[in-house]
Subunit: 427 residues, 2 copies
């Protein structure tokens, strides 16, 4: 057996603690897989009260001191898009040490640059834990689904949003109510903006897009919409049409570039993503003639995420230190997103309107002007003079056409709330 | 870039032809991933009429001649549990060359021995294509879902059986009818015994068990039952109880050893395996605290299987040549199967009985004697003096208890056909 692999863990939060515990508890089994002893030689965390729970050789409280430690791999679990985390990773790579990270924000923002740095020195920069918890989707896209190329990736990548949408469907309660419950249960952060606004999904999607298409991760080439505007009514109408509403990260090759967005979408019941419930994550990858693949598992939490970190560590121990994004970082191209609004699909539209004569004719007229053609419609209940919902499913049409039509419709004095539009995903 | 990786392909059937074509068509993209040029230097097939379709440096018709060729990897796609295939693999490894194979029968029978040979020489023996086509399940179990250990693997591993069962459910037609159609459409072989008898699933399960549990693949430690006895009635009763019938390969850790079997099972609607339709494959892996994972994709066919072969080749080019089964082959232990009949679950039971007084009491009495307790029962229709079906769901009980009870029941002169028993899987 070769010399041991010396590991330092920076950040002993939930994931760092999990990595520490699992590496200690299953050290023999994991070292057998790794072909060498896996040895935690140092940990770094500002909170010295944790020290008793994580007995190890060296306890550091200052990230700067990690540079002086004799290690092979630094596991970056301090988080943050800018600042300390990318500085640590850069210093680590410059010092000739491998990096494993769970930091999706940092990798989405600086991943391409850091990967160049790693590969110049023949070092690994691994980030399986940054996307979809324990699901080995980064490795599968990087190393397995490679022979024919990927044409599309669609994923439920945020457990908090999926939990909220699942609960809204199960209970009929409002977004705000369910969010409060989720916060109480620890499924949502006190500040939930990054989850429910779609930003967390955007970070993960940017990384999947990079691995799937050989492009630089690019948050700025991504349109992002969250789930706060989804109502129980939308969810129940969706069900009536045979769909569920899921927050999806979508990256799809089109003739105009990569259609690249985070957006609530209608997913047909009976297709794999529709059945991903609660805090689980799921990803569909279309791999041309090799057919679609589907992966599902726990997308967050101590053990799933620690599992992903440890798999990356074992890979490094085995010498599997190929390019971070599957092709050399210097070969990653700049992503060409398809023009905003060019994505086309059927759409679900909901209008809150006054129940007065002529309102339907007015809406239909505006849609027709933008060549948005209606496939089916539901208007439920009658309340003369008061607000009712009109719901429509359109034939396939461009996002831009629907948006333009909705802008005119929203201006009508018979329309009492901003119209809601949700694309319907084919698969 | 390093020197090119020199590849020889033995066997130009569907998969071999697919590997050849994809390696040629996407050579630049794949070589970029591999870090070196992927070069087919020789192919070997007895059928010289194929020669025009596969232009390459050296065309061989005798496997013996492969030994003299200067290559880095031989891709074994000739198939067969014994004889030429294992002889070629052994000779290849002894000559210091890596092996990629899609040969499940050979790997299930000789895999442990061949892996020892490979690892003594630091060579790769890769077999992703042997299990579940393009789904990267071997790699995921070997390299990704490793931190907490696997406690169970359950899979739909044979597309032919799954197609037949799906069609039986969709059309209500008999097994024999649907099998004939499947043969006509090319979804089943002219001699379908290996598929419908469960033998093909057994080969694949033996390999998954080895990778998941660190044991030697062992076909003899495996009980195998096929699907030929499943009737449209069973499928329709299953649906009534909220289940679907699927042929599963199951390997589950129990206190008595590994419960290890191929068997039709009732899978609850709404769980991932129940929704795996047609020729698709699906696998659930239970990974302790890291949670269950689910993988779905095309389980056979030219492109999915060629994809798996090519992913293995690229891994070798990158120098990822770790142990075939995830831990050193010399550390693989002999599998201890749980005693036959010890597996316990609820069961679906169907009896064809004469509709005469006392028949139900007789059956219930025999079940009670073996302490098999009934949860629910359906008896449909009345046909005094003629045969009717009685269907029961039992509470959790051991396979052996049910089998013993059924043996006595089968001997009754009121029972006109062998009783049918199908275990109900919890997940």
């Amino acid at each position: 057996m070769s010399a041991s692999l010396k590991i330092a863990i920076a950040g002993l939060g939930t994931v760092g603690g999990g990595v520490f515990k699992a590496l200690k508890a299953r050290n023999d089994a994991l070292s057998l897989r790794a072909g060498r002893r896996l040895e935690i030689v140092a940990v770094c965390d500002r909170d010295e009260t944790k020290r008793a729970s994580f007995p190890t050789g060296k306890w550091l409280t200052d990230l700067q001191d990690l540079a002086a430690i004799d290690v092979d791999v630094i596991v970056e679990l301090i988080g943050g898009e800018n600042g300390a985390a990318p500085a640590l990773v850069e210093a680590t790579l410059k010092a000739g040490k491998h990096v494993v990270t769970a930091n999706k924000a940092m990798m989405a923002r600086h991943g391409a640059r850091l990967a160049v740095l790693a590969e110049e020195k023949g070092l690994a920069l691994r980030f399986e834990a940054a996307v979809a918890g324990g699901i080995p989707i980064v490795k599968s896209l990087r190393e397995s689904l490679i022979a024919y190329g990927i044409t599309a990736v669609r994923g439920i990548l945020n457990g908090t949003c999926n939990y909220i949408l699942t609960q809204m469907e199960a209970t009929g309660r409002s977004f705000d109510d369910v969010l409060k419950d989720a916060q109480r249960l620890g499924y949502a952060e006190a500040d939930p903006a990054l989850d429910i606004g779609g930003g967390d999904t955007a970070h993960k999607l940017a990384l999947l897009t990079a691995v799937a298409f050989g492009v630089k991760p690019d948050l700025d080439a991504l349109s992002v919409q969250g789930i706060a505007h989804i109502t129980p009514e939308d969810i129940s109408f969706a069900r009536e049409f045979g769909y569920r509403i899921k927050l999806l990260g979508i990256a799809k090759m089109t003739a105009q570039g990569i259609d690249h967005r985070v957006q609530p979408a209608m997913v047909r019941v009976g297709t794999p993503l529709a059945d991903v419930d609660g805090v689980f994550n799921g990803i569909v990858a279309d791999a041309r003639e090799a057919g679609p693949y589907f992966f599902e598992g726990r997308g967050a939490g101590e053990c799933p995420t620690a599992n992903a970190v440890i798999a990356d560590i074992v890979d490094i121990a085995l010498g599997n230190v190929g390019p971070a994004f599957g092709i050399p970082a210097t070969s990653l191209v700049t992503l060409s997103p398809s023009p905003s609004g060019s994505a086309s699909s059927p759409f679900y539209l909901r209008f809150q309107v006054l129940d007065v004569p002529g309102v339907l004719a007015e809406i239909a007229g505006h849609l027709a002007k933008w060549r948005v053609s209606i496939e089916s419609m539901i208007q439920r209940g009658r309340a003369p003079g008061e607000a009712v919902s009109i719901v429509m499913i359109t034939h396939e049409t461009s996002h831009a056409a629907v948006e333009n039509a909705l802008k005119t419709i929203a201006a009508s004095d018979k329309v009492v709330a901003p119209p809601c539009m949700i694309p319907m995903e084919a698969k």
